[in-house]
């Protein structure tokens, strides 16, 4: 960080020293800011590698410290208006949080592991799903309280049980409405969190509306629907083709005698495993390929089609947010998100997963690039707020292996 004006889209005009005492804050001319990120891919690789090895050495216990060290690094490499963020959580706090909820995890997961012994044990999924809400709110509260900017920390008010009730009720509603309530549920849950969030003594306010999301949601679902119909058609057609022996273009006789293996240079193979190779005929091949596509492609289609909705949700989450006089904007579009995700998937595939730290780096850069903060950060003043008084955190979240995210 050499110069704070690097961070702003527009050079702040001879920034006047902000007044602090008891005067209504008058935001100057609204400026646009982006987060500045100067984290290094090599450093992320080192931290992920350290975490990997230390987890093996400590049978997993290091993960709390590894996670903390990674967060400290990533936070300290983010700056807004020239001032770096600080993550003040510790590995010890996360470990303590995990130990606290360990009895709950055992009560929930042991019966689920023994579902085969008694199917009634699967009822434990109900409290498990309820606890996911508790986990998300608790983890968000911990993270806000451990984040500082300009020496002032975040704070999350509100009741964890209130959020868990909301999340559970919304999940049932989503189910009953066959998913059509998802946009309104996502916004309702986000509203609950943001309307309880503070930066110091400055309360955040969320006025986002799910109505603008509905169109995107319908679009993404229609896309999924049509892609599945198309896939189903493809599968059915290939199956029917194989059954009728209509290979349209293949000479069927070629595939019905031993001769074909010689043609395909299978002669040696044939003498040993002729009866096996006989199974590898065109019928099987077509059906196998189609089955593979039908099973595999949804894993690609779903995230891609969902991106239409996810991008709209990301934009609305920012559009509806106000912190003091600060407003926010997200410029992610479905196209950009799909392109980004597909590149991620390709990188992971080609590097056999070793590209993961680079994916993390890409994701951060993507988020930084597509978020804008509007207002006047010189005039933006917050006083230190309440101390959350937490001494441990995120136990349930760790136990469920979910990620509450930051916003």
């Amino acid at each position: 960080m050499n110069n704070e004006s690097d961070m702003a889209f527009e050079e702040p005009e001879a920034s006047p020293e902000p007044t602090t005492e008891n005067k209504p804050i008058k935001p100057g001319k609204a400026k646009k800011y982006v987060l500045d990120y100067d984290g290094k891919t090599g450093a992320l690789y080192k931290l992920f590698l350290l975490d990997f090895f230390m987890r093996i050495i400590t049978i997993g216990i290091y993960s709390f410290w590894g996670k903390t060290r990674l967060r400290k690094y990533i936070f300290s490499r983010h700056a807004l208006d020239g001032d770096r963020f600080e993550y003040t959580g510790t590995g010890g706090e996360l470990f303590k949080g995990f130990l606290k909820v360990l009895p709950i995890l055992v009560i929930l997961f042991v019966p689920l592991a023994l579902q085969g012994v008694n199917p009634l044990f699967s009822l434990f999924y109900i409290p498990l799903v309820y606890c996911v809400g508790i986990a998300i709110y608790g983890a968000t509260r911990y993270r806000y309280s451990r984040t500082r900017w300009r020496g002032v920390r975040g704070y999350l008010d509100g009741s964890t049980i209130g959020y868990a009730n909301l999340a559970f009720g919304r999940m049932l509603l989503n189910f009953i409405t066959l998913g059509f309530a998802i946009p309104s549920s996502d916004i309702a849950k986000h509203r609950y969190i943001m309307n309880n969030a503070y930066f110091g003594n400055v309360k955040a306010e969320f006025t986002g509306d799910s109505k603008v999301l509905f169109g995107a949601y319908i679009k993404s679902m229609l896309l999924v629907f049509f892609l599945f119909i198309a896939l189903g058609g493809l599968f059915y057609a290939s199956f029917a083709m194989a059954q009728n022996g209509d290979y349209s273009g293949y000479d069927q006789s070629q595939y019905s005698s031993e001769k074909k293996y010689d043609d395909m240079n299978f002669s040696e193979f044939n003498s040993e495993f002729g009866h096996l190779a006989g199974e590898l005929n065109a019928h099987t091949f077509i059906i196998a390929t189609a089955s593979f596509l039908v099973i595999f492609i949804p894993f690609l289609i779903f995230p891609i089609a969902r991106s239409i909705y996810v991008a709209a949700l990301m934009r609305e989450k920012m559009r509806g947010l106000k912190v003091g006089h600060l407003k926010f904007m997200c410029t992610v579009t479905a196209g950009k998100l799909i392109k980004h995700k597909m590149a991620n998937a390709l990188i992971l595939l080609l590097t056999l997963g070793l590209g993961f730290p680079y994916i993390v780096q890409r994701n951060i850069r993507f988020m930084v690039r597509h978020h804008i903060i509007m207002g006047d950060l010189k005039a933006f003043q917050a006083e230190q707020g309440k101390d959350q008084g937490l001494t441990s955190g995120e136990g349930l979240e760790t136990g469920f292996d979910i990620d509450a995210g930051f916003f």
Binding site: A43, F109, V152, F199, D401
Partner: protein, 369 residues
């Protein structure tokens, strides 16, 4: 004596989000923080100063004080930082962090490999002993689940005469054992698998093919004694706990809850270690000798399996399952050499043996309740 430590650095007072550009001056044992107008913003006694983060260029180091724990003074790496660090009491310095130089990763890698070796060799043994304290009702439920998974849709042979002979023989062998287990021995109507299996809680299945291929009743009785020895020695429970324990441990390391959820499926993937097989053989030999039954039967069975070993073909695939869980067949045959001086009696009459051989004349669905 005053020492100017740093000029024009950032200071956040922890009360508001205002950014102060300050000069930092040491005067005796007090650190003074003053802004450009000369106002003193804070004076911290050296004993209260804490290093929160060491500098990692371009990120400055962060220091704070016990008297104002929310305040933050940012000092870049370099002369000022070195001076402050040298004056701060040792216990207030940042705790030691694991090094992340590329060269240090050789060390981490080496220790990791050693740890994994330890985990896979020592840990299962320790965990296996947990089986000794497993309640009988758990063992039973576990066994039923394993059996249901193993047997699938194959039917249970249920001719009453044959089953009675099997039960009597089981009781006779159990007379030589110490554990109070309710044995449930069944013949499964499957002509393809040459296998017998013992699950936790005294559940034993013998595939029909074993009886069909057996040259003598001694062979069947030998196999039965061997499987009962597995139960007596709690090999099945130990194996399940070992597998589960390892699964849980790996999921703890790599944080995958999917492993936790699929733990149940691990129950069906049990296998015995070579050691378990040898001790079950030895135990069976002892039991049979005590009952004056010739342990030659078990040996003959293994010999037959061993003969099939060299010429495994596609059709012989059914033997693979037996061989993979019963390693070192030839070595085991040798260990079973019987005592030539002992006189043995027949384990069952000709009529009883015929009853066992026709046990699959009647079958019923395989259920465990």
């Amino acid at each position: 004596m005053s020492v100017n430590v740093a000029s024009a650095v950032k200071f956040y007072d922890g009360k508001t989000s205002k950014v102060h550009i300050v000069d930092v001056v040491f005067s005796g044992s007090i650190l003074h923080i003053t802004d450009s107008t000369g106002d003193n913003l804070a004076s911290w006694s050296i004993a209260t100063i804490k290093i929160l983060e060491p500098p990692s260029p371009p990120v400055p180091g962060i220091i704070s004080s016990d008297v104002a724990p929310d305040a933050r003074l940012h000092i870049e790496a370099g002369k000022g930082w070195t001076y402050i660090k040298s004056r701060i009491p040792r216990h207030n310095k940042k705790l030691w962090l694991l090094p992340t130089h590329w060269s240090s990763f050789f060390g981490y890698g080496l220790v990791s490999v050693l740890s994994l070796a330890f985990l896979f060799i020592m840990f299962p043994r320790v965990l296996g002993n947990l089986a000794l304290i497993m309640p009988a009702s758990w063992e039973n439920a576990l066994g039923e689940h394993v059996m249901e998974t193993m047997v699938g849709s194959d039917r249970t042979c249920s001719a009453a005469d044959g089953q009675k002979v099997l039960n009597d023989m089981t009781r006779k062998i159990q007379g030589q054992m110490t554990r109070d287990v309710k044995y449930d021995v069944r013949v499964i109507n499957n002509n393809y698998m040459l296998n017998a299996f013992a699950a936790p809680g005294g559940h034993i299945i013998i595939y029909k093919k074993i009886i069909d291929d057996a040259g003598s009743p001694e062979e069947l009785v030998g196999i039965l004694a061997h499987e009962m020895a597995h139960v007596e020695l709690r090999h099945a429970s130990k194996s399940v706990i070992r597998n589960l324990g390892l699964g849980y441990t790996l999921s703890a390391i790599f944080g995958n809850v999917g492993t936790l959820e699929s733990a149940a499926s691990l129950l069906s993937q049990m296998s015995y270690s070579r050691e378990d097989e040898r001790s079950a053989d030895a135990h069976a030999k002892k039991t049979l000798s005590a009952l004056n039954i010739n342990p030659r039967g078990l040996q003959e069975f293994l010999e037959r399996v061993a003969e099939m070993e060299p010429n495994i073909d596609i059709k012989g695939i059914e033997f693979l399952s037996y061989l993979s869980s019963h390693p070192d067949t030839r070595e085991r045959i040798k260990a079973l050499e019987q005592d030539q001086t002992q006189r043995y009696t027949a384990p069952m009459s000709e009529r009883e043996w015929n009853a066992v051989r026709s046990i699959c004349d009647q079958t019923k669905p395989t259920t465990y309740e």
